[in-house]
Symmetry: C2
Subunit: 353 residues, 2 copies
């Protein structure tokens, strides 16, 4: 879990103060990984407290984070810094936050990041790292994973060293999020809560967090009675609570199948989850109904037919990526999930999408 969090509108202004005691020396920079949509957002960039050899690296998030991208960032940082960085600060959505976590780990661990995809494979503590979400929903700010697409799979680096040392939750930073992205990313949180609350791994810890995320998502995406500011504040908390809920349980069918889409087609995580979840009535009947109402209320039209023209070989690849995520299926269906979740079953589902 994240040991230090600050919350509040304008709390981003405290960043310099938070970082200062963690500067190792004047040669060891803080490196900021910033979503490149902010390249021209003076209001954000001018408030990044650069000093000494600190640097900002703008990162495109058009694609999902890759292990090769992590390795390149790490090499670049090592080559251009006089000393190992004092810290890595991610400012952006789930992709940037995951990259920041992965880069911080890989600065202190040998080899390629793909060697660490899995559970508890990281040997050394990560470099001090800070997460500052600018969009709410992924839960990446609180999770103990960093989901990466590698050469053979899409899988997280799950470890006790993955979570951020410090998180800054400033809802004001989310005010510029485009509507579609606000919807898709918020639905990531809704789906986290649904998958956690309906999973066989559920316990009282995950349930109370999941309940809270679920209620807030309904309040924001269905009731719609909150002011814009209150909705921003609350969605940031829903993202956090949804992340906490799955940290102590697991995600389910939508995430497993969406990882398949993302691996093969590069579909971004938020929209990928939505495309899949829309066809999961048999697993989450009540909540897929609610989801359809939300789509409707916000005039969101999902892409269709994205798997229709795939070759059998591509479909097989996608299905194998999805099926390989055993803990997700076990959580969703139970220990005997292999009886009902077959290649044939997933093919039918994917072909609907």
């Amino acid at each position: 879990m994240v040991p230090r969090v600050i919350f509040g509108r304008g709390s981003f202004n405290q960043l310099g103060e938070l970082l200062a005691p963690n500067r190792l020396n004047n040669q060891a920079p803080f490196v900021y990984l910033v979503d490149d949509v902010f390249r021209t957002e003076i209001n954000i960039t001018s408030r990044i407290p650069i000093a000494y050899d600190d640097k900002i690296i703008y990162v495109s998030t058009i694609e999902e984070p890759k292990t090769s991208q992590v390795d390149e960032l790490v090499e670049d940082i090592i080559l251009t810094s006089k000393e190992r960085p004092s810290g890595i600060i991610g400012i952006g959505g789930g992709s940037i936050l995951d990259l920041a976590k992965a880069v911080a780990i890989m600065l202190n661990n040998e080899g390629s990041s793909e060697d660490y995809q899995g559970w508890d494979l990281v040997k050394h503590k990560a470099v001090y790292h800070v997460g500052i979400p600018t969009i709410s929903g992924t839960g990446a700010e609180v999770s103990r994973t960093t989901v990466l697409t590698g050469p053979t799979r899409k899988l997280g680096i799950n470890s006790d060293y993955t979570p951020f040392d410090q998180v800054v939750l400033d809802p004001e930073l989310t005010k510029g999020v485009p509507k579609q992205q606000w919807f898709y990313t918020g639905m990531d949180c809704f789906i986290h809560s649904v998958e956690s609350l309906n999973g066989t791994y559920l316990n009282a810890f995950s349930k109370t967090y999941g309940d809270m995320a679920y209620q807030i998502c309904k309040e924001i995406y269905l009731d719609g009675s909150l002011t814009k500011k209150d909705a921003q504040d609350k969605l940031m908390m829903a993202s956090w609570h949804g992340g906490m809920s799955i940290a102590y349980s697991q995600v389910g069918v939508a995430h497993a199948m969406s990882y398949g889409l993302s691996y093969l087609l590069g579909t971004k995580h938020g929209i990928g989850n939505c495309i899949v979840f829309n066809y999961l009535e048999e697993f989450y009947p009540k909540d897929v109904k609610l989801f359809k109402k939300m789509l409707d209320k916000h005039d969101i039209t999902l892409p269709t037919g994205i798997c229709r023209d795939l070759s059998d070989k591509d479909l097989e690849t996608m299905i194998n990526v999805a099926l390989s995520l055993e803990p997700l299926w076990e959580n969703a269906i139970g220990k005997n999930w292999k009886k009902t979740i077959t290649s044939k079953k997933l093919k039918e589902l994917y072909l609907k999408m």
Copy 2:
């Protein structure tokens, strides 16, 4: 915040495994501070994973924790250990958890614990410390304070070094709690949520945690439809969430006045809060009504007339302790609290109790 938490029935059995990597060497013991009600509870004591020079110190919790008690424990541990301990593990209710946090801090900081009562006065990182609650409600397992009665005041050591490094939430450990204590300590949590939710310091972070604690308390103490096990599980989470809620806001009138009672009369925190809260209709009208229903439903009779025979001097002492807790009053009433909260006002209230 607490960086590592495990949750679940039976999770206490994982303690040995959790501690092992944190043992500094064979001469540096783990020291267990255990509520002495467990002295004869073989089911608990036999599962404490003692090795090398590790030791168990049983501590009476008939009185609230004192700065002098912390200093004595620290001296005793230093005198009887070959090296500075690898860790301090508290197993008990709020008093034990607060003692464990304070002892861990004072093993690495000079002077007396009374020098550190206040905000952010601790200079050095505490010894590794683990909290294992055996009763739910105080939120001491998650808070960044450790409330101590010193020679001149009752006030916490509030610091970034105070929170536990590891918490074990095993609801099974709460099954032997006597009914009255279950009620009073659970009400500590209820009152945390009420004071946070009705305070001027409230923000979306505290609100979502406070809402959750509040709802669970109502479910347990009013609806009463949960199984015994579910109620134990959920109350443990309510305590956690209530603690998180006040960590990012503040407590209010009941806590300020109850600290006064406790300082002068030694009233235990849980029952002290209840005695005070019962007379706070003008501050928390809806929730004092709910509280009275809970008292009724569980056949709890609170002591009465405890301040009736106090001398004016004693009353004044008590009132001064309560009034000195400025952030609590500011949260409860607002910046201009001094206009309405006077010595006279508090005297009237105390004399009702």
